[in-house]
């Protein structure tokens, strides 16, 4: 059963929380603007980190895992078929295609271009037959690729496996580094932004000291006194995060045509992707939590009831 008196008290707390913004608009706006600037930096960093992660996930689509075999030019079709079936049975292999030794030689000639003449003196084709394996989308992370390569290498008849592991692992290291730096920056900004909200709420607390005294005098409980400040902090954080998100979206829309090419080296041929609804909601939630945390910090020393 709903306690109607408690609901009415909550409504009074909400009005009181909004009064902070109305009665001290400059302090409130400055606090929101400062927090928004901090969240903009954090949001930008999160956007870059998310895009780098995205590149790592997408790069697997272009990546083929190549299994060189002991099958020569004279291999019988059923030998090729049998090895292909064993490879196809491995978990993570989406497709595979056999490249015959003569086809491999043709490719090599094509790759060498004008220098292909060096191959003319060869009496025998030394290239082995190979299988090109397309990896399933969910198995394209570096660790998964390594595990699949090991499994392929263990299949009898496979002599060597290649998949550009150096590039994938190097890129993964960069992404990890960016994420670690991002976490450090995140912690730093969370502390700074929390302190900003705490200062603003403390100002509110001083400005409303008389009101708090009178509220207590006429029987206000601790939560009734504190709740408006929590709401004020959460409102500041939420508004700041929304402002940061809108600003970031505007910068993205304006900057992408100019910076798209310049960022190509970082994220490849893919265009920078903006936050989806989940990430955007996450940033706003972070702002709200920061605001609440700041209010909690500033109200920590507030005594109850006496």
């Amino acid at each position: 059963m709903i306690d109607i008196r408690a609901v009415r008290r909550l409504a009074v707390c909400v009005r009181s929380g909004l009064r902070g913004a109305r009665e001290r608009p400059l302090v409130f706006a400055l606090s929101v603007a400062t927090m928004a600037a901090g969240l903009l930096v954090l949001g930008t960093y999160m956007l870059i980190a998310a895009n780098l992660r995205g590149v790592l996930e997408r790069v697997g689509a272009d990546l083929k895992l190549v299994a060189f075999t002991s099958l020569g030019a004279a291999a019988a079709p059923d030998e090729v078929e049998a090895l292909g079936a064993r490879l196809r049975a491995l978990s993570g292999v989406a497709e595979l295609r056999y490249v015959r030794p003569d086809e491999a030689m043709e490719r090599l000639r094509g790759d060498l271009g004008e220098d292909a003449a060096v191959l003319d003196g060869m009496t025998q084709n030394p290239l082995p037959g190979s299988f090109e394996l397309v990896v399933a989308v969910e198995r394209r992370a570096p660790a998964e690729l390594r595990a699949l390569a090991a499994a392929v290498a263990g299949v009898p008849g496979v002599t060597e496996v290649r998949f550009g592991e150096a590039w994938v692992e190097g890129y993964a290291r960069v992404v990890r580094m960016v994420e670690i730096l991002g976490a450090g920056l995140g912690v730093f900004l969370v502390i700074v932004l929390g302190a900003i909200v705490a200062s603003t709420v403390r100002l509110s607390l001083h400005a409303r000291a008389d009101e708090i005294q009178i509220q207590r005098l006429v029987g206000a409980g601790g939560l009734f006194v504190r709740l408006p400040f929590y709401l004020e902090g959460a409102l500041q954080g939420g508004l700041a995060a929304l402002a940061a998100l809108l600003l970031l979206r505007a910068l993205y829309a304006l900057g992408m045509p100019l910076l798209g090419d310049a960022l190509g080296w970082l994220v490849g041929s893919q265009a920078l992707v903006f936050f989806g609804p989940a990430e955007a909601a996450g940033l706003v939630t972070l702002g709200v939590l920061l605001g609440l945390g700041g209010a909690l910090m500033s109200l920590f020393s507030l005594e109850d009831h006496r």
């Binding site: 008196r5 006429v218 029987g219």
Partner: protein, 236 residues
Amino acid sequence: MIQMYHVDLRYTGGTYGLRDISLTLERGEFVFLTGSSGAGKTSLLRLLFGAEQPSAGQILVSGRNITRMKAAQVPALRRQIGVIFQDFKLLPERTVFENVAIALEIAGTAKREIRTRVWSLLKRLGLGHRIDHRPRTLSGGEQQRVAIARALVNDPPLLLADEPTGNLDPGLALDIMDIIADAHARGTTVVVATHDPTLLERYRHRRIVLDAGRLVADRAPEPTVWAARSIGATRS
């Protein structure tokens, strides 16, 4: 209504605000707490509405032992007590209506009921035409009437007043005392701390005299019966 048993209030540093106070106030009584400045009148009132905790002794208000009360239970006690101060303690940015309504809002009263009760009380106290004014535009007497309205709007069974006329001219002081006397006539138990001899002369009520934190006399209401009792007799 109020029982105090051997109550001490000792501050850090060892000085006593109150020492070995024992007294009983009946429901519906009107009592003056009197004594010179620093005698302990304000300290005693602060103990009664839970703003201070005694260092020793027991205090019962409406049968509840407030010395054993948890901090979270104090607000409920305060909603049963109206308190008036010498400096009015009004919010300057709020209107007269809002200053009075705050007590009902905290109690979770419905908006319509708040409007009705605040309006009728302010009208009764002669402030009907000041309802939308800010406190700074009011005279001292009007401000104190607003503070009284805030203290009475919840119909508390107990009204505590700490030098309620201390900042007012003698004429206004009597007006304020008449309002408090009216609340008493409606059944409210009233404790007024004052050292104003004019008030004590005009309003013949029981007087509890404090000196340096000790209860030195407890005098009955009738002027002819000035039966000063010893502290020992009060305890029994």
